[in-house]
Structures are given as C-alpha cells and as structure tokens.
C-alpha cells in the first residue's frame, strides 16, 4: 500500500465515522450530539470549521493576487492547487455551517432577509459570492477534459482578471469581518484578544496563513505523490510570510500598548499562558525559522515551519472563537467526540475530493499516476501442479468502502441515546418530618424547612377523626403513615408500590398470578389494584384522592396537600397573604430555585390534582 492509499483509507474511515454522527445530529438536534450550552453557544464547529476554515482557505486569493495582479509568473505552478484548496476549503466551511446552524434548511434566509449591520450577514454574503468566484476561477481546469465546454472555458479564461480582482476584494472583506464578529462582545472576549482593530489583525494573519498554507500543501502533496517539491520557489513565499508575520506581531504589540493591556501579559491566569503560546506558535517561532536562510531553503524545515504557523493561526481563531472567553459562572466547554468527528469528517471529505481532482485533472503540469488504478489481481491456475498461485488482491476501492462502513458502524455503536434531560434531577431522598406538636418539615435535610403546626391543624380540622383528611393513604398495619413513606424523593415521582416486598419469599409469599392476570404481559396495568387486598389503604374522606400508586415528588405532595386548603381559607378569612410562599417559608432562601417552583406550580395547575368538592365534604 502506498502513501496515498494509506491516507485515503484513513480519510474514508473518518468520513464514515462522521456520517454516522451526522445522522444523529439531524435526528436528535444539537443538545444531545454536542457539548454546546447556553453559556457557550458557539463551539468547535464555529471556531474551527468556519473561522479556521475560512482562514485556511486564504491561499487562493494570495496566490492569484501574486500571479495575476503582480504578474509574478514564476509562481504560476502553485495557482491551480491553491485555487482548488480555497474552493474546497470554502465548500467545507459551508458544509460545516450546515451542521452548526440550528435550522440549516433556513440558510438561504440570508439572501432574502437583510440586516446589513450584522458582520455575520456580511461574512455570509461574501462567502457565498467568493465560493462562486472560486468555482468560476477553477472551472477552466476540469473543463479542459470536456471539449463541449470549450466555449464557456474560453470566456471564463478571458474574464479571469476581473474574477481575480473581485475575489481579492471579497476575501479582504470577509477575512476581516470574521474579526468584526467579535467587536460586539467586548465583555465576553478576554482583553488580551479583544481589540477594536480585530478585523485588521484577522486580515493580516489570514494573508500570512494563506502563504504558509500554500507551502504546507505543496510539501504534503509532493510527499504523497513522491514528487520533487519546489523548495526554492516556496522559499520566496516563506520570506514574504515572514514579513507579513512581522507586521502582524508589530500591530499586535502596538495594539496591546495603546489599549494599556500590557499588565495582562504577566497576569497569573492560564489564558495568559495560552496567549504567549499562541503568539510564539503563530508568529515568533515561524519568523525566526523563516529568517535563517539555511532553514528556509531546507525542505524539512520549510515544511515544519509552515505547519507551525498554520497551527498557530488556527489556534488564534479558536481562541477568539471561544477558548479565550472567560466565563464568570465557571461554565466550561470541551467539545464532545461527536463534534470533533464531524469537524474531522468535513476536512477529510474535502481532502478526498482534493486528491480526486488532483489525480483526474490537470492541477499540476503532469497528472500523477492514479494510485487506485491497480487492477484486481486474480490468482492464476498453475496447470502443472493444479494449484492456484498468488494471493487474491484487494482493489483499493474495496478497502476504502470497508473502512467507511466499519467506521460508520462503530460510530453508530458509540452513539447511545442520551436521555433528553441530559442531566435530569439528582435523586434526593426525602426525610421524615421531625417533632411533635410542631413538625419541622425539611425533607432534604438542608436546613431550610417549614414549621408546620400539627396540633393546630388537627384541632381546626376536627380532632383525631380528621387525620384521614391529610393522611390520604395508610400503609398496611399503619394508622397514619408519614408523607415520606410513599413520597420518597424530593423532586422525582416514585412508585409507592414496592414490588420486591411483594415478590420476595420473605415477604408475602405471593405468586405472580395472585396479582397479575394469567396469559397477559405482567405489567402494572395488568395487575389488580392494591385495595383489593389492602382494604383500608385509602381511607374515606381524604382531601386527596389516590388515583395511581405512583407517588409524586415530596415537595409537590406537600404543596398539593396544603395549598388547596390555604387558598380556600384565604378566601374565607379574606387573608390573601395566606397563599403566598413566604407565609410558610419564612426563610427566603428556601425558595430559591425557580425551576423547582415551576415544577411545583405546574403540578398544582396540572390536571391530575383532585381536590374534593365542597358538597362531598358536607
């Protein structure tokens, strides 16, 4: 297996993995496939796929400007690969964006509904237009193979200069506008990165990245197809890249000084270290390495330095896009493996298309041999020994398909259905109320409870006979079971019926068919009701009618039981404050979690609350 085939197999595996995740992304939405959150609504799909992708595709406009505007014809050999990279890069950005958008089928809305004040609107339009321009710029290359397209091809070749100029204009705009995106969030971005000249810094670093990317990509393809890299030609690009990076470094330093943020450079914060690492990787180290003529002209060093610069500038985009956003609430974003799989899959797919075009069209002067063209080798029959000679060969395309399918299957295997709650409510076992005349109801034992005057309530409701009003269900051999015996969790409904007690041999010696009907699936629905055996389980005259043996949460139970009376008495006594939370919850901190309250109140407003009508009581 040669280098290209090994790489292609790896890329197909990644694409297969991403394909399975993509299905989950569109079926189940962003919440279950990503680690995005309300505090971090943008993640790796924006930071890497969109911001990094656009920057990585900057080689297209740099090289076309060099060759067609500045007429440096010696760079002609890198034009076609650079334009192809840019075209596929922008296509990858568009595809990546489809994954990130919550409503990707509405992406065309940007064409119809305009908001010219929004930098994102501007970026969107520029990317759309520039993708078209790049398509038209590259079209003549595949069109060479089809004589029927010669007419269109000739026209496009003639229109090359205006196309190139438009492409440069559009690139300048959206490369800088990606920086403008963050101008509106001065309080979100760390002061080491936030700057009013962010657009300018993005543009300069994009030019440097474009140059570095051309060097990187030339070396990569030369390595893959065992060609001689144009190291001498590329070294002059490296020289230019060094100058651009020097300007960038100067602009960034002056910016920090003018904004009086130099003290931040030595702050004890991991983001300061990140800043230093980023600047070293993207600017300082490449400048030094590209400045030494011996290293600049060496193939290995040139390739490595370009790689460093590429990684550094992409890191810069990731930092601005999310890593360098200090969150005071301590929320933290780490991409899930599914997000990374999609990002890697989009890049891999673009690389596969790149290699395909490279092998089938005249991107280079001479086309490389198609590494997949080896025919399937069949074993031959040796008539003398009557044996089959040779091992059956496997065509590369079969290998790729196998890799793709296996990876997709693996991906599906790892995608487990997350519960929609994603986190759910923690189990909080309720505790029994404590005390005698005054009950201290503090179910979750966190110190914030309610003083419930048990004796007063008992007297008011009519003495010992009235117990059943509130104690609406008593367990066997129990007179007035405590609330927490059935309502066992603070926030979650629990089953009041304990199957294990009934089924275990140490329990009631019950065979299945004493409760469950024969010949039916044994579920709660097919079982007989509890009060068939336990005669006095639900006493008459209770304020709450037991409809099912699924006990609601402890908090909800307390509120349902108390509030009905409170609302009634508040009207009778003309005391509206009796219905207010702070009538019982004297300590304000008790009622702090609004969601708890919402759940409780929704339970109160819900349909399954049954309070007896007044007539029934009388």
């Amino acid at each position: 297996m040669n280098r290209v085939r090994r790489l292609k197999l790896a890329l197909w595996v990644v694409v297969g993995l991403a394909a399975s995740v993509a299905v989950a992304r569109f079926l189940f939405g962003l919440g279950t496939t990503t680690n995005l959150s309300d505090a971090n609504p943008w993640g790796v799909w924006v930071g890497f796929d969109v911001m990094g992708g656009v920057a990585l595709a900057a080689g297209g406009f740099i090289v076309t400007a060099t060759v067609y505007i500045f007429k440096l014809e010696r760079f002609h050999s890198v034009v076609r690969p650079a334009v192809l990279t840019a075209f596929l890069g922008y296509a990858a950005v568009a595809v990546g964006l489809l994954f990130d958008l919550g409503l990707p089928w509405n992406i065309w809305h940007m064409i119809v509904y305009w908001n010219p004040h929004s930098p994102l609107f501007e970026v969107g339009w520029c990317v759309m237009l520039y993708l078209t321009v790049l398509g038209l710029e590259f079209f003549p290359v595949p069109a060479e193979e089809f004589p029927k397209l010669a007419g269109i091809r000739a026209k496009l070749v003639k229109a090359r200069l205006p196309l190139v100029i438009a492409g440069i204009g559009l690139s300048t705009l959206h490369q800088s506008s990606l920086g403008s995106l963050f101008l509106i969030m001065p309080y979100r971005l760390h002061p080491l990165w936030y700057s009013p000249i962010l657009p300018l810094m993005f543009l300069i670093s994009a030019i440097a990245l474009g140059l570095a990317m051309v060097i990187f990509e030339s070396h990569l393809t030369a390595y893959l197809y065992r060609r001689k890299p144009e190291t001498e030609l590329l070294s002059s690009l490296a020289k230019a890249c060094r100058w651009v990076l020097l300007i960038y470094l100067a602009v960034r330093a002056v910016d920090l000084i003018v904004r009086q943020q130099t003290a931040q450079l030595f702050a004890a914060d991991w983001r300061t270290a990140l800043f230093w690492f980023e600047v070293l990787l993207m600017a300082v180290v490449p400048i030094v390495l590209f400045s030494v003529p011996r290293l600049r002209h060496s193939r290995a060093w040139q390739w490595m330095t370009a790689t460093l610069a590429v990684c550094g500038i992409v890191l810069n985009r990731l930092d601005v896009g999310g890593i360098a956003h200090p969150r005071p609430d301590g929320s933290f974003y780490l991409p899930s493996w599914r997000e990374i799989a999609i990002s890697a899959g989009v890049v891999s797919a673009a690389t596969l298309v790149f290699l395909f075009v490279l092998e089938h069209f005249h991107v280079w002067e001479e086309r490389p041999a198609d590494p997949d063209a080896e025919p399937l080798k069949l074993p031959e029959l040796d008539p003398v020994g009557a044996t089959w000679l040779g091992v059956p060969g496997i065509a590369s395309r079969t290998t790729y398909s196998l890799g793709f399918i296996l990876a997709a299957a693996l991906g599906f295997g790892f995608l487990h259905a997350q519960p929609l709650e994603s986190r759910g409510i923690d189990r909080t076992p309720a505790q029994r109320a404590r005390g005698g005349e005054v009950l201290w109801i503090d179910g979750n034992l966190d110190g914030f409870g309610v003083n419930f005057k048990h004796v007063e309530h008992e007297k008011r409701e009519g003495g010992k006979e009235s117990c059943v009003k509130c104690h609406h269900m008593n367990l066997p051999r129990d007179e007035n079971s405590a609330c927490s015996r059935c309502h066992r969790d603070m926030y979650l409904p629990t089953d009041a019926f304990r199957h294990d007690w009934h089924a275990s041999s140490s329990g009631a010696h019950v065979a299945c068919y004493q409760c469950h009907a024969r010949g039916q699936v044994r579920t709660a629905e097919s079982a007989i009701r509890c009060d068939k055996c336990h005669k006095n389980l639900v006493p008459a005259g209770a304020l709450i009618k037991v409809k099912s043996y699924r006990a609601v949460a402890y908090t909800e139970a307390m509120h349902r039981l108390c509030l009905g009376c409170h609302i009634k008495k508040a009207q009778e006594k003309n005391k509206p404050e009796m219905t207010r939370c702070d009538w019982c919850h004297k300590d304000k901190r008790e009622v702090i979690d609004s969601r708890e309250i919402a759940i409780r109140r929704q339970g109160l407003m819900g349909q399954d609350v049954v309070l007896p009508p007044k007539e029934a009581e009388k």
Binding site: L27, G29, G31, T32, L36, S37, D38, P41, W42, I69, K71, D100, G102, L103, P104, N106, I107, H109, M110, Y113, W114, N115, H117, S118, L120, E122, V164, I165, G169, T172, S176, S177, S180, L181, L183, I184, P186, Y187, R188, P196, P199, P328, S331, S422, R423, G424, P576, R580, C581, D582, K588, V591, I592, S594, R595, A598, I599, R601, Q602, M605
Partner: protein, 251 residues
C-alpha cells in the same frame, strides 16, 4: 411612550409569582434541569427567573430590552428586532439558528431550545402583544409586593429617583439600566451591587452595536478601495511589462 419595567429588589420576597405568570402567559412547558443550563434559572422554557444576589437579595432576571439591542444588531437575518414600544422580539420564521445573538448579549439572556431537533431562540418578549393592547405584562401584574412595576420609562426613572430621595441610605445610588450599553427598558434599583447581572462587568454607556457599525460602514469603501487598487496595480504592471518588451524588441 417607551415601555419599561422597574424592579426594586428590596421589595422582592422571591415568591416566584412572576415566574409562574410568565409560564402561564407564554404557554411554556415543564422544565427540568438540563446539561446546557447556565445555572441562573433561565432556559428556553423559563423566560424569567429569581436569582440570588449578594446578601441574599432576590433579583428578577430576564431580558433587559436594551434601547439599542446588541442581539438585534447581530442577527444576520433580522429575526430579532425592536417594536415601537421598545420590546425586543423574535420572529422564529426568519431565524436560521446561528446563535450570534446569544454571543452578542452582554447580559447572557437569549436561550436556545437545545433538546429540540428544530430549535429556536427563546427569551422574554415583554408581553409585546399585551402592552400593545394597553395592558401590562403578566409578570408585573402578578407581583404581589409591587416589587416589579410596568410603566413609561421616563416616569419609572423619576419614580426610582423619588424612592431613592425619600429613603436616603436604603439604595445604592444608581439606577441599573439607565445608561449601561445605551440604556435598557428594564430598570433596577437595589440595596446591593447588581453588576453580577452583566457577568461582573460594569457596562460602559456606549451602545454595543456602535462597535460593529463602524466596521460595517467601512465595508463598501474597503471593497471599492481594494478592487480599485488591485485593478490599478495590475494595469500599471502590465503596461510597464509591455513597454519593457516593446523596448527590448529589435526595430
């Protein structure tokens, strides 16, 4: 008239009547704690929440309805926009789900319906249909202690000043929302510092959309400039190359 809400945190007892009224008014479904919650009680199904400030102060948190909203300026398709009365509202039929509004908001208010396969941005809409009819929002109507009241912005500002003057020493001498980021329709007075509502930052009076507006207004000029520059350079270099070739040619 500019619709506004004034919340006096010293009067709030945290009873959550506003939260319940908001849920009922906007038909918001049951909500459970989720992985993606920011932890302040707000979510796609909770448009207002009571958060605990310093010294156990009860502070109602919801959309501030900025006079110059950063979210509306950021939205590439104009799904978020301001009504005449000052409510910042959302048109879900335009939205494409880029979530730039959530990044742009200095108060971190807009929330996303992360669990949905067809998700939308959700936030308080100041009951814009109710206030257009001349009624007040559901939350202020429900408040039993009148801690949060609805009215005209100028009148509420005067009311806030009057409360501060008649209770010297009770309040911090500041109406939150009067000037921050261009001013907001939702105003607060309190006995504690409320900068935790804007992630601990004290917002400058400069409206946030101004930052991007400067850059966006430069766009046509930048484009024309770059295109003209490139065309000019190309023309000059081509002409010089032709002249050079012409001179080199033997006569």
């Amino acid at each position: 008239m500019k619709a506004a809400i004034l919340t006096d945190t010293t009067k709030c007892n945290g009873c959550h009547e506003c939260v319940a009224a908001c849920k009922k008014q906007n038909h918001l479904a049951l909500d459970l704690p989720r992985r993606w919650d920011a932890g302040d009680g707000l979510s796609a199904k909770n448009w207002t929440a009571i958060v605990e400030g310093p010294q156990h102060a009860m502070v109602r948190k919801h959309c501030r309805h900025c006079l110059e909203p950063a979210c509306a300026s950021a939205c590439p398709v104009g799904a978020l926009h301001q009504t005449k009365l000052g409510a910042v509202v959302y048109d879900s039929s335009k939205c494409m789900g880029c979530r730039y509004c959530m990044m742009a908001c200095p108060y971190g208010i807009p929330r996303y319906d992360w669990q949905a396969a067809v998700p939308y941005v959700r936030k308080c809409i100041l009951c814009y249909d109710r206030i257009a009819e001349g009624r007040q929002p559901a939350c202020t109507e429900a408040c039993p202690t009148k801690a949060t009241i609805f009215g005209d912005r100028d009148q509420l500002l005067a009311e806030a000043r009057q409360r501060m003057a008649s209770n010297p020493g009770k309040y911090v001498d500041k109406v939150w929302g009067e000037y921050e980021a261009g001013g907001t329709s939702v105003l607060y007075i309190s006995n504690v510092d409320l900068s935790f509502l804007s992630a601990g930052h004290t917002l400058a009076p400069k409206p946030l959309p101004v930052n991007t507006k400067v850059a966006m207004e430069a766009v046509p000029f930048a484009f024309t400039g770059v295109v003209a520059c490139m065309a000019g350079i190309s023309w000059i270099i081509e002409r010089r190359m032709k002249m050079q070739n012409g001179e080199d040619e033997p006569k």
